[in-house]
């Protein structure tokens, strides 16, 4: 299945989906050295975001979150790509400075994607491809 979307940060990447119905504050929620979600209050607590196509409504919290995304990338534990319903500046800036493909402008149905489904984000062509199970 192919879905059209809006490019925020260029590039193209694939990986298994990891879906959060909650928005994410990268500062404090994700360990910048391991890519593990460490906030016990968060739906994804205990999950590794490294290499995943992280699908979530959008970001929130401290602007330092942008730099945390960059640290994840340098440690090799960043998401392969990200999909938002609507991007806000913290995640948008974080993805861009980290060269992680990021798109938004998709309907909330994307949040029903099953974890582990292989998803390709082609930000340059503004396309998301979801493999059939």
């Amino acid at each position: 299945m192919e879905i059209s979307c809006h490019k925020i940060s260029s590039g193209s990447a694939s990986g298994p989906a990891l879906v959060s119905k909650e928005s994410i504050s990268f500062l404090g929620t994700v360990d910048p050295d391991t890519g593990k979600v460490v906030d016990p209050q968060h739906q994804l607590c205990g999950e590794d975001i490294g290499g995943k196509v992280l699908i979530f409504p959008g970001g929130k919290g401290s602007t330092v979150g942008s730099y945390v995304i960059y640290q994840l990338k340098k440690r090799g534990v960043a998401p392969a790509a990200m999909i938002n319903i609507r991007s806000e500046p913290i995640v948008a800036v974080g993805a861009i400075i980290s060269a992680i493909p990021l798109v938004d402008g998709v309907s909330e149905e994307i949040l029903a994607t099953k974890d582990g489904t292989i998803v390709t984000v082609d930000a340059n062509r503004e396309l998301i491809r979801i493999e059939e199970p």
Binding site: Y67, K74, I96
Partner: protein, 387 residues
């Protein structure tokens, strides 16, 4: 968002990776906030300088950047005086990281002036009507409200992107329709200088992101406006206010708020100093030459009995060497490039007395110490009082 041919080339990466990433930041923010195009900026002030704030994550990003800024660009305050950090008892590890951050910014062509008051060191660099991409909340407020320039409150990366491209997306406070007053504030008492910080502290909490239009009994002085705007940007997120009689009229249905002498007295009483005060710090925002002069006069012939910091821009201190000498003769310390809010040196104290509504709002949360408020005179008294 519409891009010119040259902007489009930069966005597609034809002019290198740094410019591509900078353009992506500007376009992403422009799309998020509904900008129609990019506009040139006269100058940039970049946030994200104190190692205490941005940590390893931020340092890594800045160190990896390659490129040169194309408009005059300065920095926000750092976590320490870049030369006298040992006098602040900053540990060497932090100092090295902090110097690395400033060096990394300098190698991008950014001037290593670390101040929240760029308009005090380069008054010619910003004029009425200029579009800017400034970051620090009190500088943004001063530029919009007192100078009559136009700037949003930028984050670190978006300010840097604006400096590399020389442009910013046209939205928010760049547009006249977003500069209309949303609240009418009537101040029903005569104010002393030190009341402006309290007034800002009160009004910021009330109006949040609004655009207040003040009516005063007398026209405030520049340093008073600096204190007022800084406090409103800290207790709320006010980026623009009006204080002149001929300012634009407030929008229909604007909320009216009156502030009385009693309201101001109440904040003062709640934050009155006591014996626990073990440090006094002035210069939030950074002291003007006039404020240094007042402090020097108040300190004449006195000895300070506890830690007393006066924070200013290096450019201001260099312009007033005799005032700095006079102040330091009392045992007080004039620190440049930094302030009590962003320096970890504040954290080892118990209770800090300030004359700033902004510092009063931030010190408890950011430094995890208590804060007390008083006029400059009261602060000098507290610093020189013998137990």
């Amino acid at each position: 968002m519409h891009l010119s041919r040259e902007e489009e080339q930069a966005y597609q990466g034809d002019l290198g990776d740094t410019l591509r990433r900078a353009m992506e930041i500007l376009v992403a923010l422009g799309d998020i906030y509904g900008a129609d195009r990019l506009i040139p900026v006269a100058s940039v002030q970049v946030a994200g300088v104190s190692f205490k704030t941005i940590g390893e994550a931020g340092l890594e990003w800045i160190s990896d950047l390659r490129g040169k800024v194309v408009v005059p660009t300065v920095l926000n305050p750092a976590g320490m005086d870049l030369r006298r950090w040992q006098d602040m008892k900053i540990d060497e590890k932090f100092a090295n990281k902090q110097l690395e951050i400033v060096d990394a910014y300098s190698s991008l062509g950014i001037s290593p002036d670390c101040t929240c008051t760029p308009y005090q060191i380069r008054p010619d660099a910003v004029r009425r009507g200029d579009h800017l991409a400034w970051s620090e909340s009190s500088a943004v407020s001063f530029a919009n409200s007192v100078i009559g320039a136009k700037t949003n409150r930028e984050g670190g990366p978006s300010a840097l992107a604006a400096a590399l491209v020389g442009k910013t997306p046209r939205y928010g406070y760049h547009l006249e329709e977003n500069r209309v007053p949303t609240h009418k504030i009537s101040v029903e008492t005569d104010l002393e200088s030190s009341d402006y910080g309290v007034l800002g502290y009160i009004v910021g909490r009330e109006v949040g992101e609004g655009v207040p239009r003040f009516s005063f009994r007398r026209r405030p002085q520049v340093d008073e406006l600096k204190a007022l705007g800084a406090a409103m940007a800290a207790s709320g997120s006010v980026a623009l206010y009006y204080f002149e009689e001929d300012a634009p009229q407030a929008q229909k249905g604007a909320e009216e708020i009156s502030v009385s002498a009693k309201d101001i007295q109440q904040v003062r009483e709640e934050n009155a100093p006591d014996e626990e005060v073990d440090i006094v710090a002035l210069g939030c925002p950074h002291c003007s030459p006039k404020e240094l002069e007042d402090i020097a006069r108040l300190l004449e012939g006195k000895r300070v009995e506890r830690e007393f910091w006066i924070c200013t821009a290096r450019g201001v201190a260099e312009r007033c060497p005799n005032l700095v000498k006079k102040i330091e003769a009392s045992g007080a310390k004039v620190f440049c490039d930094t302030c009590m809010v962003v320096s970890p040196a504040s954290d080892r104290h118990q209770k800090m007395m300030v004359n700033s509504g902004k510092a009063l709002a931030y010190i408890p949360g950011l430094c995890k110490i208590k804060a007390a408020y008083g006029s400059t005179e009261d602060c000098v008294k507290a610093a020189t009082r013998r137990d």
